[in-house]
Amino acid sequence: MYNFNLFFIFPYLDSLQWAIWNTLQISVTATFLSIIFGVLMALVRLSNYKYLRLCGVCYVEVVRNMPMVVLLYLIFFGLPSFGIVLSGYISGLTALTMNSTAFMTEIFRSGFMAVSKGQFEAARAQGMTNTQLYRFIILPQVFRISYASLGNQIIGVIMGSSIMMIATIEEVTAWMFNTGSINFRYFEVFFVGGLVYFVLCQTVNLVRNALGKIIFKTAAAGGPW
């Protein structure tokens, strides 16, 4: 019978701390970048130019339907054929960001589509410039509509960051794997690692709900208001 004893984890807590830091760092960076790119790509997908729209659709469909591991291999192993050699961290970050951008694009696109056309027209009629229109009228509404799905996608990014161990990034999954292969206490290691992911994801969940109540003065889910 397996003897479950968390004591065996104690010597590795120091490296765990760094692993959590790495996971957080890459997740936050990827989330941040993919939100920016996602908004831009959503605008591309809704653009007036047919070919630009087509590019947007192609990007989203290709990246969304490709496993992130394969995308990572393409960047990590494939790009050097063109003489572009990226470090593990950069290729991991690129894969995570590209993947997340595709999903963010869809989230923001449905957000933009939910904002009624009258809003654009009314703002234009007020004499607002395009920048003002998006900054003050459209984006706040899009953000509000997309808020709930945004939280889910952030959780998706945290989960996706586990794949970064393939790109030799020392994050929590890599910690689990390495520590397990040193002390063979796989059960404890996975217990602790799983707990870390669970806590991270549920924290995002709770913060989303709490923040949603503060920002929107209603339940977290965006929707008709």
Partner: protein, 217 residues
């Protein structure tokens, strides 16, 4: 001309990928149906436990579940799981959490009046579920279930990490054997293209089903 030389292996890899994700999806549907039923239960204790199950697997990455099943379960039970069994169990566990959401959504989409009407005509509780609720609910569940299949298929590529030779691993192995060759990049692009085509086709199918349902409703 590497592609022609290795086309047989690639097709085999694709078959294995489709097969493992299909088996995992069936298992996930079974577990997910039970969990989903539990989440619509009247007893709060059952709702709580099944809710924790779903939340748990929704916030644990597939790779972690995979390692846990492959290394952890082997230690716990002393049974040496093959990579196929380990990958199937891990994918099924992850899929079941998603499936439980699908089932719950489907069951909740059926108007309360349907149940009440069926009960008042003298049907027994199981008859109501079997003949009234589920036939309607399944139609609502199928399009999102197709989405679960696509994500299971994508997640099955992670089985390559524990050394199960499916499509991704096949590609990596071919890449190893043609190392230095110009086909090294080509093979990765081919693998990616296969995934995109398959997943795109399946998602289109799901969208078609959804449209047809909307039409019927």
């Amino acid at each position: 001309m590497i592609l022609i030389d290795y086309s047989f292996l690639l097709i085999r890899g694709l078959g294995i990928t489709l097969w493992i994700s299909w088996v995992a999806l069936l298992l996930a549907a079974l577990i997910g149906a039970l969990i989903g039923l539990g989440r619509t239960s009247k007893r709060w204790s059952i709702r709580f436990l099944t809710g924790v199950y779903a939340e748990f697997f929704r916030s644990i990455p597939v790779l972690v579940t995979l390692f846990f099943v492959y290394y952890g379960l082997t230690l716990l039970t002393g049974i040496n799981l093959s990579t196929f069994v380990a990958a199937t169990i891990a994918l099924a566990l992850e899929g079941s959490a998603m499936m439980s959401e699908v089932v719950r959504g489907g069951l909740q989409s059926i108007a309360k009046g349907q149940r009440e009407a069926a009960l008042s005509t003298g049907m027994k509780a199981w008859q109501v579920e079997l003949f009234i609720v589920w036939p309607q609910a399944i139609r609502v569940m199928i399009p999102p279930a197709v989405g679960v299949y696509v994500s299971t298929l994508k997640a099955s590529s992670l089985a390559s990490v524990i050394g199960y030779v499916e499509l991704t691993k096949t590609g990596l192995l071919i890449r190893e054997s043609v190392r230095g060759h110009s086909g090294s990049l080509l093979i990765l692009v081919v693998i990616a293209t296969i995934y995109v085509i398959i997943n795109f086709a399946i998602s289109r199918l799901g969208a078609m089903l959804e449209e047809r349902n909307n039409f019927v409703n």
